[in-house]
């Protein structure tokens, strides 16, 4: 008996070792693991599994969508991993997923590395609120583009700077230091915010630029929306940017921004949709477009799209068709789930542009859309 137990133990141990070594072997060859996603399994019964990966910003909306979509089309299951936009771009480039997602559009260089033509489908848009902490001033702070840029460039250091008091004649701004806060983790929110500053300030564009992480001229870094908001709330004189959804849910004071038309606009979901609509007729054909600083009179200026990335020429008719149908649903019926989750609806004009894109997705030249 004694001997037999030890034999069993030994066998279990050996099995474990083989398994771990086998696992290691698989990981060291990422190129090979890319294969299965491409192969079709039309004969397989049970739901079809689609894989997506990428942006974290739209994750709450996407997980709601993919959950609701299985109720509409029970043949499809969608597994979305919010690993970040960089990961999403990498995975779609390597074809390890059926669709990618990103908060910033792919660059020309990134597109040229992909094995096929990748389409950008805007799925929703979000606004970035400029939150602040000034004791006694709960709302009504007004900022314009140049002032905001100079605060983040470290040129305006005090709250009672003449440029700020000129914008806010009815507020009694204190003589305290401005404590600038930004995101320390790479994020789509940072991309939209720095995209805005690059558009409105030549100096920012030249010195800092736009990206999911940049070299900040001044300020403290907070991790995530909660880190930035926490830092602002803890520091009198703090200013920082957070996702609008986060500011709304946590009742943080945020500023009104002067838009291109000269109006001071509070960040809101309708003002975000208006901003996207205002840019619609100027959109480039590939929809890789920045919608910050929209010319529409009621637009909030710091807003951005988030995109789903998909190959125009699909390798697999079954999975390709499933993704296309899901996307079609998302930009139409799926839009009603956006606002309850604090995402802005796509404007009608952008839905039209998306429709044309989705219709162009094909397998061997044949459109995959059901309609």
């Amino acid at each position: 008996m004694h001997g037999r137990r030890s034999i069993i133990l030994l066998m279990v141990a050996l099995l474990l070792i083989t398994l771990t070594l086998g696992g290691c072997g698989g990981n060291s060859q990422p190129a090979k693991t890319a294969e299965p996603a491409k192969k079709s399994e039309p004969s397989q019964s049970g739901p079809l599994l689609l894989n997506g990966a990428g942006a974290t910003f739209p994750y709450p909306l996407y997980s709601k969508w993919f959950d609701e979509y299985t109720k509409v089309n029970s043949n499809v299951r969608i597994n979305y991993q919010s690993i970040g936009s960089g990961g999403g771009i990498n995975q779609i480039t390597q074809k390890t997923v059926n669709f990618g997602a990103s908060d910033g559009p792919m660059t020309d260089e990134q597109l040229s590395k992909a094995p096929g033509e990748i389409l950008h489908i805007p799925t929703t848009s979000g606004a970035v609120a400029v939150a602040y902490n000034l004791p006694g001033i709960q709302s009504g702070l007004k900022l314009d583009a140049a002032t905001l840029a100079d605060i983040y460039l470290g040129k305006i250091k005090k709250w009672n700077d003449s440029r700020l008091t000129k914008l806010n004649p009815d507020l009694k701004l204190p003589a305290t230091d401005i404590v600038v806060v930004h995101r320390s983790d790479g994020s789509g929110t940072t991309f939209i915010f720095t995209d805005y500053l690059s558009q409105v300030s030549a100096e920012w564009k030249e010195k800092v630029g736009k990206s999911t992480s940049v070299k900040w001229p001044t300020g403290l870094g907070g991790k995530g929306n909660e880190g930035v908001a926490g830092q602002i709330l803890q520091t009198p004189g703090g200013i920082g940017y957070v996702e609008l959804a986060y500011a709304l849910q946590n009742k943080i004071a945020y500023a009104q921004l002067k838009n291109q038309a000269g109006k001071f606009i509070e960040p809101s979901l309708p003002a975000t949709t208006v901003a996207a609509a205002g840019m619609a007729d100027k959109m480039p054909a590939d929809l890789r477009v920045s919608i910050v600083n929209s010319p529409a009179p009621d637009a909030y200026p710091i807003v951005g799209f988030t995109w789903i990335l998909i190959y125009k020429n699909q390798d697999d008719p079954v999975k390709g068709k499933a993704v296309v149908d899901m996307l079609w649903w998302a930009i139409h019926d799926g839009q009603k789930y956006a606002e309850p989750l604090h995402y802005a609806r796509l404007p009608e004009q952008v839905v039209k542009l998306n429709e044309a894109k989705i219709k162009s997705i094909n397998y061997q030249g044949k459109s995959l859309l059901s309609q």
Binding site: S85, V179, G186, G221, G222, G227, G230
Partner: protein
């Protein structure tokens, strides 16, 4: 050793068990070595692009700019080392004090609750420490600690600049809190392992309690205490979440402890998921390699120190 063919015979089942157990543990031990080797290999492979592009200047360049594709690790290296050393210099005296109090002074009824609470501190997840650091510690540092420090020690360059709360000082403090339990627990075990005869001998020679601790216990426990310090330092070097929350995440080298800084583990955690191009990813990998190297080097130096120390002591005794 060779495995003899008669091992599989039932009558020698005990010997068989011995052999297979030896083999099994050997495999596990070698797997550990293999794991470290694989890690270094993967890190080297991942950071190859950055190694080729920046070479040694990666270590001396203080500029980290993902937009203009220039990466230097110096501020992160500095931040990790300073915050960890600061933490150690705060935590070591405290931990040693707790350990000595528990083993030499505390009555039995106090011993158990204190050691229980100290060990409990080790079980708190680091993200909880981080949020506590951001919402409780940092504001306290800003409103209480920093004004006092700058008032009494403001002439020193370490305590100058605006009081922001978050920064190197807060990072050091939170790391000190986090490594205290492990340093305390190991120091306590090490001190308890000092033979009673050692203590009695010192006391019999007329030593006071303090002299007994200084002359009989600490020299005896030295190598074990160094082990405790190393484990604490290891945890401080690699700590990510809690540090990220309170260090201020600013890649800058400032003498003042009030100023924000950045650590190697933090920048990896912050930027890895959104690193959108190969060189950027590779630079982050190289930071990981560097962190690995720093940990190894510090371990090596500590062992060297210990070896010199015990060698010298042995020399004087003979």
């Amino acid at each position: 050793m060779t495995i003899r063919p008669n091992l599989i015979r039932p009558q020698s089942s005990h010997q068989w068990q011995d052999q297979s157990f030896r083999l099994l543990t050997l495999v596990f031990a070698l797997a550990m070595l293999g794991l470290v080797g694989l890690m270094v290999l993967e890190l080297l492979q991942g950071s190859w692009l950055s190694l080729l592009r920046f070479g040694w200047s990666f270590l001396t360049d203080a500029d980290w700019d993902p937009v203009f594709e220039n990466f230097g690790a110096l501020p992160f290296l500095y931040g990790t080392l300073i915050s960890s050393l600061l933490a150690l210099s705060i935590a070591l005296p405290v931990s040693l004090g707790i350990a000595l109090f528990l083993t030499e002074i505390a009555p039995q009824w106090l011993y158990r609750p204190i050691s229980f609470v100290v060990e409990l501190l080790a079980a708190i997840p680091s993200v909880v420490y981080g949020l506590w650091g951001l919402f409780v510690l940092a504001p306290w540092v800003r409103t209480h600690l920093q004004p006092v420090l700058s008032r009494f020690f403001g002439y020193l360059p370490f305590f100058q600049g605006p009081a922001l709360g978050v920064g190197m000082l807060s990072a050091g403090l939170i790391l000190a809190v986090m490594i205290t339990p492990i340093v305390t627990a190991i120091s306590r075990e090490v001190i308890m392992a000092v033979p009673t005869s050692q203590r009695e001998a010192a006391l019999a020679l007329g030593a006071t309690r303090w002299e007994m601790i200084r002359l009989a216990i600490l020299p005896y426990a030295r190598s074990g205490l160094l082990g405790a310090v190393l484990l604490g330092l290891g945890r401080a070097l690699g700590e990510t979440m809690a540090v990220t929350m309170v260090i201020g995440n600013r890649p800058e080298i400032a003498i003042s402890l009030f100023a924000p800084g950045y650590s190697m583990a933090s920048v990896i955690a912050n930027e890895f998921s959104e690193a959108t191009y190969a060189l950027y990813l590779s630079a982050l990998m190289e930071i990981g390699l560097l962190l690995f190297g720093v940990t190894m080097l510090l371990n090596f130096l500590a062992r060297l120190m210990l070896w010199r120390l015990t060698g010298a002591v042995a020399g004087t005794r003979e």
